[in-house]
């Protein structure tokens, strides 16, 4: 330690000691502090760590317990339950409200997700009206209106005024929303930054009245506070309009709300969207397909990837009388044959009572279940966009030479069915000398942040695109006139955070992504090669006209031939070559 370093440090320590003198209890501590300073302290030896003491020495019962500040009893009085709303108010970055720009996008997205899900549940072709109005420099009012089934009056306060409340969490099927947090969190953020409640207008049908609610969240209790609840005139037959005022920043370009809405239209070709951004002309995205996507069905969990603790719990709680029945009723794709095979391997009687299994029985059963051959989960819980629709959407959005799409068959990670589909557009107006654009979608929702943390990006990077006639530098996306649109549909999309920005790196998911990418890559490469061959053929044909005369000239010069002879050479040679070309083709 140098003179200088020490000097400065001592000076500071002195300051702090002076501060302390002001406090009542400082004297004793100060003395201790001084003692500690002047006396070198013996410590853990880096070079030769002390060998562990033989036997188990008693834990050091500190000689300083006299200074104890609180007992277990005192501490116990402070223990309290924490409301989930309070938790997320403090941790709102977890929900995508890190900064005002992202907050705007997150709030719009949560409302749009809810609207599209509601229409899907009700079997209605969605028609949305999204509006963003600037109220002050950093204050905006967003409203999202749908033609969905509406919400019954009694549910409105809880849906918008309580976190972790909703219909989707316990349902295993493909939906945009998952946890019953999103839209109430958006409202809570608005309330926190502007003091304004969420306003909801909803009507369940032409014969029902429209209701107007103003709702806030009582964060201490995680309960709704209703500020207004009245009937309203509304010239809409059925649907919901949600309005939130919030602190926000609106920007255009990449990762903007505009961008999000355009991608949403691309991923939901059956939806019509009117979008009025702040201080600009409104946009209209008409419906590209007039048919609803197949309705995703709810399913039971698949045994692959179910965890030991989960299985134990399930066997405790099941109403089934036998292990066989429990397995068949509570899981999908477990047939009698599977039950027989599984119980035999695990040395369990199929008709044993589930509650009677010992922990080691369950452990064996769990191990066997992971290795038995099972059908993939039912596909009808998923609703992919489909290859046709992806190609139609890409063709409409981009001027490309070549458009292709692959929808993989459903697969499963940790018991959750999922399905990967990828669209590819190549050539045309797409810039050839930049990194490719990558659109990531999960359950038809565009993902705009944390690209580098996402399994989709990882899968694209893991493919050697140079094998498919693209160029690619280590660790970077490929370069070339290509756009990839990658959609993962799942009953439970494993996001890396609550703000739904990136998909976790499950090997099963990455594997499916790679298979789809490589299939598209092979087809793209054969397209590119075919195009090159065609161009080469045309070029070679023109060679005959271009270069044969030069052979004539050279021969005349070297052999001092007459002009007539030169012409004869050119004519004969052209005939010879064209004849052999015809044979070749």
């Amino acid at each position: 330690m140098t003179r200088k370093g020490t000097k400065v440090a001592r000076h500071k320590a002195g300051d702090r000691a002076a501060d302390r003198r002001k406090s009542k209890s400082a004297r004793a501590q100060l003395e201790l502090f001084t003692a500690a300073k002047s006396e070198p302290v013996k410590t853990h030896e880096k070079a030769s760590p002390a060998p562990p003491p033989a036997g188990r020495p008693p834990v050091n019962q500190s000689p300083l317990t006299a200074t104890r500040r609180a007992t277990a009893e005192v501490l116990a009085q402070k223990q309290r339950e924490i409301s989930v709303s309070e938790f997320f108010v403090k941790n709102r970055h977890l929900l995508g409200f890190d900064n005002p720009q992202k907050a705007l996008l997150t709030a719009v997205r949560e409302c749009v997700d809810n609207s599209l899900d509601a229409c899907s549940d009700a079997g209605i072709l969605p028609s949305l009206r999204i509006e963003i109005v600037q109220r002050a420099e950093n204050r905006f009012r967003i409203s999202v209106e749908d033609n969905g089934p509406g919400i019954v009056r009694g549910q409105i306060p809880k849906i918008f005024g309580k976190l972790l409340y909703g219909s989707k969490f316990h349902t295993l099927k493909q939906q945009r929303g998952q946890q019953g947090i999103g839209v109430s969190a958006a409202g809570m953020y608005g309330q926190l930054t502007t003091g304004k409640p969420v306003t909801i207008l909803s009507r369940t049908g032409p014969n029902a009245a429209a209701h107007h609610f103003d709702v806030t969240v009582d964060t201490k209790k995680n309960q709704p506070l209703v500020l207004r609840d009245e009937k309203a005139d509304w010239d809409v037959k059925h649907g919901t309009r949600v309005t939130i005022e919030l602190e926000a920043i609106y920007k255009r370009g990449r990762r903007s709300v505009d961008d999000y809405i355009e991608q949403t239209a691309l991923a939901n070709p059956h939806a019509e969207i009117h979008y009025a951004p702040p201080n600009q002309e409104a946009l209209h995205y008409p419906r590209a397909v007039s048919v609803l996507p197949q309705e995703p069905k709810e399913i039971k969990p698949h045994p692959y990837g179910v965890e030991l603790g989960m299985l134990m719990r399930l066997l405790q709680d099941t109403p089934a009388r036998t292990v066989a029945a429990a397995l068949k009723n509570d899981f999908s794709r477990v047939s009698d044959k599977v039950v027989a095979e599984v119980t035999k391997s695990a040395l369990i009687k199929p008709n044993a009572r589930p509650r009677d299994l010992t922990p080691s029985d369950v452990e064996r059963l769990h191990a066997v279940l992971q290795n038995v051959k099972l059908m993939s989960p039912a596909t009808n819980c998923l609703s992919p966009i489909g290859e046709e629709s992806i190609r139609a959407g890409l063709s409409k959005r981009f001027v490309a030479d070549y458009v292709d799409a692959v929808t993989r068959p459903p697969s499963v990670y940790r018991g959750n069915p999922f399905q990967v589909e990828i669209g590819l557009a190549y050539g045309g107006d797409i810039p050839a000398d930049e990194l490719i654009d990558l659109y990531r979608l999960a359950n038809r929702v565009p993902l705009q942040y944390q690209s580098s943390a996402c399994a989709i990006t990882k899968a694209v990077l893991s493919v050697d695109w140079r094998a498919y006639a693209m160029s690619m530098s280590k660790g970077a996306l490929p370069t070339g006139p290509m756009i990839l649109m990658i959609h993962i549909a799942s009953v439970w999309v494993p996001f890396t955070s609550e703000s739904k920005e990136a998909i976790a790196h499950y090997p099963e998911i990455i594997r499916e992504l790679r298979l789809a990418l490589m299939e598209l890559g092979r087809r793209l490469a054969s397209h590119i090669r075919h195009r090159r061959r065609v161009a080469d053929e045309a070029k070679k044909k023109s060679y005959i006209d271009k270069f044969i005369p030069h052979i004539g000239i050279a021969l005349r010069q070297i052999l001092a031939l007459a002009e007539r002879e030169e012409k004869r050479i050119v004519t004969t040679l052209r005939q010879t070559l064209e004849r052999s070309r015809e044979r070749m083709v």
Binding site: I551, L555, L559
Partner: protein, 372 residues
């Protein structure tokens, strides 16, 4: 016409013209007969090369490729024939074209023009190997030349135009020297020197020339200035062949001096094996600086650079020449073990003329000890 200086056999101007005419007549006949003509070339790649200890250079094994006139090859065929026509014209008008000149000449060939000099150079290489002649015999010249000569040599040349003979006396340049032209096929030699000393650096050459080292030692000094150009290699080769002179090479003791300068001079290069018969100097022997000299003379050294180490290891592993000669294998291994290199100018540490007055005489007393 310079027939006077040139030999009448293969490679004389008349015989080159005959070769061209007869090969092109063949092509002409085939075309007129409605058949597709073809040309056969030796393969110019390392897979077609081996080191011939007897001939003392890399030579081709004999693999060939045939190029038939098809739609795919018609462009190259046309370009090749036009380049042959240019060659014939050059020989007949007793002119020459540098490789760059030839590239510009192709600009007159409309669609058949070359887009860069690499393209026209490749065509020239094709023709060279097709006829088994070197570029200079075909009227072409490299753009690079260089190389200076001083000492006991009279170069026989003639005045262009008048055809008058010229004798260039390389003892009469004072502190200057004779600059080797880029084509040397037409030169003749008169000398009574005992050997040729080929020197890597201009600095060492100047010192030896300034002090008339060639006078006492009775030799011819050639400055290579780095890796010798075709002209320098051909000059030394022709001089050594015609006058039966031994060639001693004096370069830096490092993998570049040994592996690039000396090896290229002596056995040619792997990827131009079709030319090595003309351009290598099999009679060359390595005077120094050897790794052992570094020890014996306690020379000041510099550490081997990574690229040096890589080069030496490559030579030991892949180069058929070094692999063939155990003395070289040992020396290169010694060098790698020492981990240092030394320059021929390092002798200047002792005194400026130490190399001239002490080192070279000591070495030249025992040419039998030179490395092969």
């Amino acid at each position: 016409m310079k027939e006077g200086v040139l030999s009448k056999g293969v490679g004389s101007q008349a015989s080159v013209v005959r070769q061209i005419t007869s090969s092109v007549s063949e092509i002409h006949k085939k075309i007129v007969g409605g058949r597709k003509p073809s040309m056969r070339f030796p393969l110019r790649s390392l897979s077609n090369v081996r080191y011939s200890p007897k001939k003392g250079h890399f030579e081709m094994v004999g693999k060939t490729k045939e190029r038939t006139l098809t739609v795919s090859t018609v462009k190259t065929f046309a370009q090749t024939l036009r380049m042959v026509a240019l060659s014939k014209e050059l020989i007949e008008t007793d002119d020459f074209a540098t490789k760059r000149d030839a590239y510009y000449q192709t600009k007159n060939w409309d669609e058949a023009r070359c887009d860069d000099q690499v393209e026209s150079d490749t065509i020239m290489d094709d023709i060279e190997s097709f006829y088994g002649l070197n570029k200079e015999q075909l009227g072409f010249r490299p753009d690079e030349h260089g190389g200076l000569v001083a000492g006991r040599l009279i170069v026989l040349d003639q005045e262009q135009g008048t055809g008058r003979s010229l004798e260039v006396d390389c003892t009469r340049f004072g502190s200057g020297a004779y600059g080797i032209p880029s084509a040397v096929e037409h030169l003749g030699f008169k000398t009574r020197a005992k050997f040729i000393l080929a020197i890597e650096t201009g600095g060492m050459f100047e010192r030896l020339n300034y002090h008339r080292f060639w006078d006492g030692a009775d030799c011819i000094l050639v400055s290579m200035a780095g890796v010798p150009t075709r002209a320098v290699r051909r000059f030394i080769r022709r001089l050594a062949d015609e006058k039966k002179l031994p060639v001693y090479v004096f370069v830096d003791c490092d993998p570049y001096g040994i592996g690039n300068i000396y090896r290229t001079l002596k056995v040619g290069s792997g990827n131009n094996a079709h030319l090595n018969a003309f351009f290598c100097v099999p009679q060359a022997r390595f005077l120094g600086v050897t790794p052992q000299d570094i020890i014996d003379y306690k020379l000041p050294t510099h550490p081997l650079k990574d690229v040096d180490i890589k080069r030496a290891k490559d030579a030991l592993k892949n180069d058929p020449f070094f692999r063939h000669h155990k003395e070289w294998t040992r020396s290169l291994e010694q060098l790698l073990k020492m981990g240092v290199r030394a320059e021929q100018q390092a002798f200047a540490k002792f005194n400026l003329n130490y190399a001239m007055n002490s080192y070279l005489p000591a070495k030249l007393a025992h040419p039998e000890k030179f490395l092969p």
